[in-house]
Amino acid sequence: MAELVDLATGVKQLVRDGDTVALEGFTHLIPVAAGHEIIRQGRRDLTLARMTPDIVYDQMIGAGCARRLVFAWGGNPGVGSLHRLRDAVERGWPHPLELDEHSHAGMANRYAAGASGLPFAVLRGYNGTDLPKHTAGIKPITCPFTGEVLTAVPALNPDVAIVHAQRADRRGNVQLWGITGVQKEAILAARRSLVTVEEVVDTLEEKAGSIVLPSWVVTFVAHVPGGARPSYAQGYYERDNGFYKAWDAISRDRDRFGEWLSTL
């Protein structure tokens, strides 16, 4: 059963240097506060996995937490580049960043295979692209019935998955709704997990479009209101589009980024 802890304790107990850590949330419910806590705790050499690294991963990469990035799309949605990610890849600052690069379909299937206890997933994907030349985890696989050649990608089983949700009950059952992305798969694929939530309630009420992650598949739940800002939490707060735009200027410059980091 999931234990209710504070954010610092949850991160400290779960995230170790060198771990593969997935912070998921597809535009919605991005666990930003947990990412900041990982920065504050000074974690290093992480393999950071995420379908769409956005500004929280830009921050973690700029802060020097990451050795490797597992991803499909790294940008500031609707704004432009992730400048800390680019600085790491293009100029090795603050240190070089290895890439394990996939497509969205590939990443989604990697998590789904991980959640399913399978070593790989099969999809129609990557054929004719240059990705298989640079990403080891893309291989052909032949259908034993039709002979058709498809693509296999390896399961992604993070050491730690972290997601943000709208609410949990006191027993640690977690409920989220709206765009729920690949969060269920990330939690079920991971060895350990942390869910930050807007609210802890006595009883989860029914809610259309919601999914529930039962307490017994979650390690820790932490009450972190606003923990998804500047992304949004449907029913709680809107996306802070202004900050996404402001991040472009903050992150372009190493010194301005350093100033931002010192305030964290």
Binding site: T52, S81, L123, N127, E185, Q234
Partner: protein
């Protein structure tokens, strides 16, 4: 009304969705064009975003593909694995809309790296996202790229998504089941694949644009269709609807 090249491009993209049932929408211009089409001439167009929102009906174009309004107005919200596996991959979506930093004459796209090597690129772009499988699996693909020599290149620095590969027959050889790009809409005109060679060929000039101007903004020896036409100017209704949509945007 007067109009900008950007407006002409967006309206051309919206018009291209006439008669289509469903559209897999990327963020930015594709989303704007798809929402414009819903307002103008295709109110039943089903918009599918890779965030898992199927049948979204946003009142304003979303800033990101995961905006809350997409979920609250959708017919169904599904997980991201499901939207790719059950909805995109089987080829049940009519049109995919894609853009790119680089496009070549066969409609192949690069959104990964420019210059240098993959390991040490001059410019690291965001990457593939949903594009490779959108390009592979939608029944048709519409490309929208602002035209320039930097973007319309002889040779891509990286193939992120496949149009016609190296030419006729390549899609079948690669097992890509959609029919590939049907048009490339730019701010200057429209290119369509030649039925024989699959090479993107200039078929439309936007009003006031010369063939030479398009040629100069293209990094390969651009061919022109024998039936080169001029794009119909935006109507007042189209422009009004577009500006209403974009004025809403912050």
């Amino acid at each position: 009304m007067t109009f900008t090249a950007e407006e002409m491009m967006t309206i051309t993209a919206a018009r291209a969705l006439t008669g289509h049932g469903s559209c897999f929408v990327g963020i930015g211009l594709p989303s704007l064009a798809a929402n414009l089409a819903r307002r103008l001439h295709n109110p039943d167009l089903v918009l599918i975003y890779e965030s898992g929102t199927i049948g979204a009906k946003p009142s304003r174009p979303p800033l990101s593909i995961g905006d809350g309004e997409l979920a609250t107005t959708a017919d169904a919200v599904v997980s991201v694995p499901e939207v790719f596996n059950y909805w995109l991959q089987p080829g049940r979506i009519d049109v995919g809309f894609l853009s790119a930093a680089q496009v070549d004459r066969f409609g192949n796209l690069n959104t990964t790296v420019i210059g240098g090597s993959y390991q040490n690129p001059a410019v690291r772009l965001p990457g593939a996202g949903g594009a490779p499988e959108i390009a592979a699996s939608c029944r048709e693909v519409i490309l929208v790229v602002r035209q320039s020599k930097r973007a319309f290149v002889e040779r891509l620095d990286f193939v992120t998504s496949v149009g016609f590969g190296a030419g006729p027959g390549d899609r079948r050889r690669l097992g890509l089941r959609g029919s590939g790009p049907v048009m490339l809409i730019t701010d200057l005109g429209v290119l369509r694949p030649d039925p024989q060679t699959c090479e993107l060929t200039l078929t439309n000039l936007h009003p006031g644009v010369s063939e030479d101007a398009v040629r100069e903004a293209t990094g390969w020896a651009l061919k022109t269709s024998e039936t080169l036409a001029t794009t119909k100017e935006p109507t007042d209704e189209e422009l009004a609807a577009l500006r209403e949509l974009t004025d809403d945007d912050e």
